[in-house]
């Protein structure tokens, strides 16, 4: 009912020449919902973007942490807000996509969210210990025992990626979940507790030979083209579909946002992603900024949804 009213109000506003939104975005503060606690990756990127958006849009942007239920609670808050552009949020994709595909009720539907932009994309790679005898995916899959990989939670994006990847490769593995963070999962490879791990390339870099500690080496990147010199890509091993696995930081708003508000926010986010302070920070913190506009983000979300739908059984947690 509330949504119906909101849609109605939007329609009236549009008919009257958008007068109600004429002042956007200077009527009020923009609340930027972060569905996780302070200090994490999603929190950090929003807190970097917020002041740059303020500079670009001439309004105040207030980051607000609404954590809980694996990001669902923050997503619900945005979903229920008025679609006036003053409440937007950041989404963990494909984490939420996977949850939806395997049938977890998150309290809102991703295809109803108004997608505004994609801020960053990270690609994955498969890493083993630098001094290991394993030099390729074939080596890993030809071990006497099924290879062991490390991950945080069973529903984490990296763990889902791991299960689907090795499912596609028809290679038997054991995914040891429960590590406190992705760094801990990588250290388990260094200490020899497990054989390998699939993690975002930007997270792995600090443990690699070039400029890192030299503890790990890559044996595959889940990318279409060569991403790291000398390391085979998904295309090289004959499974280009593996390049679909990415980690995205996507911005969205409540269902039914008017077009001019969408474009104002899209422009603000684009300007922020080009802000010298933001780009300098991203370089230092090793964040792969990759701006994608509203329409393309919408398409990307649909694409991801059908991709994961295909591997629904592999995505669901076994056992």
């Amino acid at each position: 009912m509330k949504k119906l009213l909101a849609t109605g109000a939007t329609a009236i506003a549009l008919m009257t020449g958008g007068a109600a939104y004429a002042e956007f975005p200077t009527d009020d503060n923009i609340t930027f919902v972060i569905p996780y606690s302070p200090g994490g990756g999603f929190d950090t990127i929003v807190r970097q973007f917020a002041p740059a958006m303020e500079r670009a849009m001439g309004t105040t942007v207030v980051p607000e942490n609404i954590s809980g239920a694996g990001g669902a609670r923050g997503g619900q808050t945005v979903y229920r807000a008025d679609p006036d552009g003053y409440t937007i949020g950041i989404y963990n994709i494909p984490g939420l996509t996977v949850n939806e595909v395997i049938g977890i009720d998150q309290g809102f539907k991703l295809d109803e969210v108004t997608w505004l932009a994609n801020l960053a994309v990270e690609t994955y790679a498969l890493a083993v210990a630098a001094d290991s005898d394993i030099n390729s995916v074939e080596d890993l899959c030809a071990m006497d025992q099924p290879a062991k990989l490390s991950d945080t939670g069973a529903t984490s994006t990296a763990s889902v990626t791991t299960r689907i990847t090795f499912g596609i490769l028809e290679c038997d593995i054991v995914d040891v979940t429960g590590y406190a963070g992705s760094n801990d999962a990588m250290i388990a490879v260094i200490s020899g507790e497990v054989n390998a791990t699939i993690k975002p390339i930007t997270s792995l870099e600090k443990y690699l030979g070039d400029g890192g500690s030299g503890d790990l080496k890559l044996i595959l990147t889940l990318t279409a083209d060569e991403a790291v010199p000398g390391v085979p890509s998904a295309t090289d091993i004959g499974h280009p579909e593996l390049a679909k696995f990415t980690l995205n930081r996507v911005i969205g708003g409540p269902p039914g946002m008017p077009a001019e508000v969408i474009s104002a926010l899209e422009a603000g986010l684009l300007a922020a992603s080009q802000d010298p302070e933001v780009t300098a920070w991203a370089e230092g913190a090793n964040i792969g900024l990759a701006f994608i506009g509203a329409a393309d983000t919408e398409a990307l979300m649909d694409d991801l949804s059908s991709f994961y739908q295909q591997y629904k059984d592999l995505a669901a947690v076994a056992e």
Binding site: P38, G39, K148, E193, A285
Partner: protein, 506 residues
Amino acid sequence: MGLDALFEAFVAVLNGGSLLYLMAGVLLGLTFGVIPGLGGTTALALLIPVTYTLAPLDAMYLAGGVMGATSFGGSISAILLNTPGTAPNAATCFDGYPLARQGKAGLAIGASATASAMGGLIGLFTLLLFIPVAREVVLSFGSSEFFLLTILGLAAIAVSVKGKLLRGLIAACIGLLLAFTGANQFTGETRFTGGLNYLWDGIPLVPALTGLFAISQMIELALKGGSVADDDTLKEAKNMKITGVGEGVLAVFKHWPVLLRGSLIGTVIGAIPGLGGTVASFLSYSSTAQTAKDRDTFGKGNIKGVIAPEAANNAKDGGSLIPTVAFGIPGSAETAVFLGILVLHGIEPGPQILLQNEREIYGLIVALTVSAIGASVLGLVFARVLILITRIDVNIVVPVVVTLSLTGVYVLEGRMADVAVATIIGIFGYLMIRFDYPRLTLVIAFVLGEIAERSYHQVRLISDGNVMEYMLGRPISVILIVATIVTFFLPAMRKVPWRRLTGRAS
């Protein structure tokens, strides 16, 4: 080289502006520490947006000031009100509160302040010693060692609740039950959530602990009436020297083995991600109480029962930086927030952190040192005033503490449901006090339960099902197994031969 960097950091911190941030951190840390329900993690989490506009080093000083000061602040409320200001201070209540009721609050606060400062110093000194081998230390602690440490902690529960073993075990089982609420890390299924979204992430720690310690104690005090200190002791105290703070300071040096052991336990537990200060101070307390000659006086106001947990609690901060300097990973909730502050300033924590961000890391170490000492000095100066709290009518104390702690619970995540959890667990905690069930036992099981389950599952997968064989092949695991067995059987082993020997001698 490390020492040069350390001296440089000391000089840098003496710069006017930097010292100001550090002192602001100390005051904030003390305040957040004293108020039950608010702790170091809350303070740091609230500070994150503020540090955004600061230079990275100033942000470190502010964070270090907070981290170093909260645990001593929390001991003040533990001693004076039997309400730990932060969860790790829970073990300090055992002997701190009886001392306060005997009119010796000054002695307890003096000892706590000194043990905190000295524990902090020893922890940081140990950290400096360990920096060259930090990598090896972290790599030698795997899932197997995590699991065995939780078992050691759980075994210590059983022996620390002397006289009420059954009640202790019941409390521990309830703690485990609470710990297993929420999404299962391995299957993704939710357990015991009753269909509530809120419980997906499990029962939140801070609201649960606030309820169990602060709210329950306030209910108890409100029903009892009067003031914290006994009326009889109040009358006596009028004729007595009221402080005894100096004696408390001396007591720490007199009992230096207790201080040293507490600090070492704190450093080791601090270095292990996930275990935290509550386990460190509890293990330090229980091992001191178990091995002391005068163990019968523990729980009745033994000053060693204040020194042991407080030394461990502060030493843990130094220890929790060991995984940070080795791999850029946090060793405690506080260091996790601290690393978040670095990322906010465009610094990616990683294994090279000590090489690339020497200034920030040593800045934090110096800030922690200065803060631990500064907070203790402040505490000693104000001890005289603070102990008057025990003489205030509880009709004033209770509403103030309840309001502040429930507000603190709400502020952390902005969820009303957290306040409800704190209240419900508070009432439950009061029933535990009323029927004499140990609350700390529940907390230890609550904190350890999830790690125990998770790491056991990991060991099972890693070892292809041969759990025992795998553990016995790892030296540190073997040491931990032996320590667990000794902990478990120590009371029995000690009793039997001693009795026989003394029996024969007489």
